[in-house]
Amino acid sequence: MTPRRQRMFMLAAMIVAVGASVFFALRALHGELLYYLTPTQVAEGRAPTSGDFRLGGLVLPGSVRRHPGSMTVRFVLTDGHHSIPVVFTGVLPDLFRPGQGVVARGDLVKGTFVANEILAKHGPGYHPPGIHSRYNAPHIPGSLPGGTTALVTRP
């Protein structure tokens, strides 16, 4: 075996070893490293029993209620299979609107998610106004493609 070929094999072995360890590490972390949980994952009991966590989903159209004279807003967060009512007092991101994806941080109090921070999670679609794209809403795992448009028109 020439020295060059030997170096090739050494490097190939190193790449395989590193690749395999990273592959198994990532497999183990597949269900973790989630920035947010969906309402379905919360229903499966994956949310912590105490303390804050992040809840992500789509703002159900028609569910947004603002309290006159206060900064409090109530809406329903859904992934199409499960829904959780959310209450939040504070400044919403500009992109907040019905059908939009949001990630809320807070905890569950008697079935209502009391949020202390709301971030917008928009979809990967970019286009001028007036065009319908199924990428307008972000993809929430477990939900139907097309966001809440598909949700609300579903029988």
Binding site: R4, Y35, L95, L119, H127, P129, I131, N136
Partner: protein, 254 residues
């Protein structure tokens, strides 16, 4: 496999030959880069329509996304240079990696800064520790690690080899960054390209009127990298070979 490949690599790897041919190539890259970035910026900032939800704020995409692509591409470039340098013992490959690493670090920094400035008005925060942002930040530290490691040894060859190994191992972060938005639930939105480019099912989530300036900017950034890496590699091999006749002649030393 080593015969033809090795001959081709060794011819290009001859420092005097590289020093001679890299000059016109570098200039060509620089000209294309200048023209493409000018057209891309004009297309992105003036011709492309405002976005349906982000208005004019989306235009930072024309810096952010091509920079992000470059940050991934240049790290793969480092890993390939490292492999060539380690297997064929080609010094030029290490010089190229050494020239490319700071450029890649700069593109990664631009990606992180523009992303942060974009996230604040749209998402509502400068930074989140989701899988996409965190893996891109790790890439920035990997670049710094490669740069630091190559300069940490008294023997420059040892530094080159250590940096090459870190680049090869660290390249595992590149697919992780790319697929992070599919593998984990992130705040960052999904990729703007979907499907497989090899079976004809590749499609994009961006309207054509907004997409073309993005691709032109990417071409401009690639050529900018090509020009800059050749220019920096030329200085690098001159410095490394100052004890040879051709290099002394090239810089006009007696």
């Amino acid at each position: 496999m080593s015969g033809r490949w090795s001959r081709w690599i060794h011819r290009w790897a001859s420092p005097p030959y590289f020093y001679r041919v890299s000059r016109p190539w570098g200039r060509a890259f620089a000209v294309v880069s200048f023209v493409a970035i000018a057209i891309g910026l004009y297309g992105g900032l003036w011709l492309a329509p405002p976005d349906f939800q982000q208005g004019n704020g989306f235009r930072i995409i024309y810096m952010h996304v091509p920079s992000a692509w470059m940050s991934l591409f240049i790290f793969v470039f480092l890993a390939v240079c490292g492999l060539i340098g380690l297997i064929w013992r080609i010094k030029l490959a290490h010089a190229m990696a050494s020239a490319a690493a700071p450029i890649g670090a700069a593109f990664t920094a631009i990606t992180l800064v523009t992303g942060s400035l974009w996230a604040k008005p749209m998402w509502g925060t400068f930074w989140v520790w989701d899988a996409r942002l965190t893996s891109e930040l790790i890439l920035f530290f990997l670049y710094l690690g490669v740069i630091a490691l190559s300069r940490s040894f008294e023997n420059p060859q040892t530094g080159d080899r250590a940096a090459a190994i870190l680049a090869i191992v660290g390249a595992v972060d590149v697919p992780i960054i790319h697929y992070s938005v599919d593998w984990w639930q992130t705040l960052h939105q999904g990729s703007i390209f979907r499907g497989n480019p090899f079976d004809g099912h590749l499609h994009t989530t961006v309207a054509p009127s907004m997409l073309w300036p993005l691709l032109v900017m990417w071409l401009g950034f690639m050529c900018y990298f090509g020009a800059l890496v050749l220019w920096r590699a030329r200085s690098e091999i001159l410095l490394r070979q100052l004890d040879t006749d051709w290099a002394r002649e090239a810089v006009g030393a007696p």
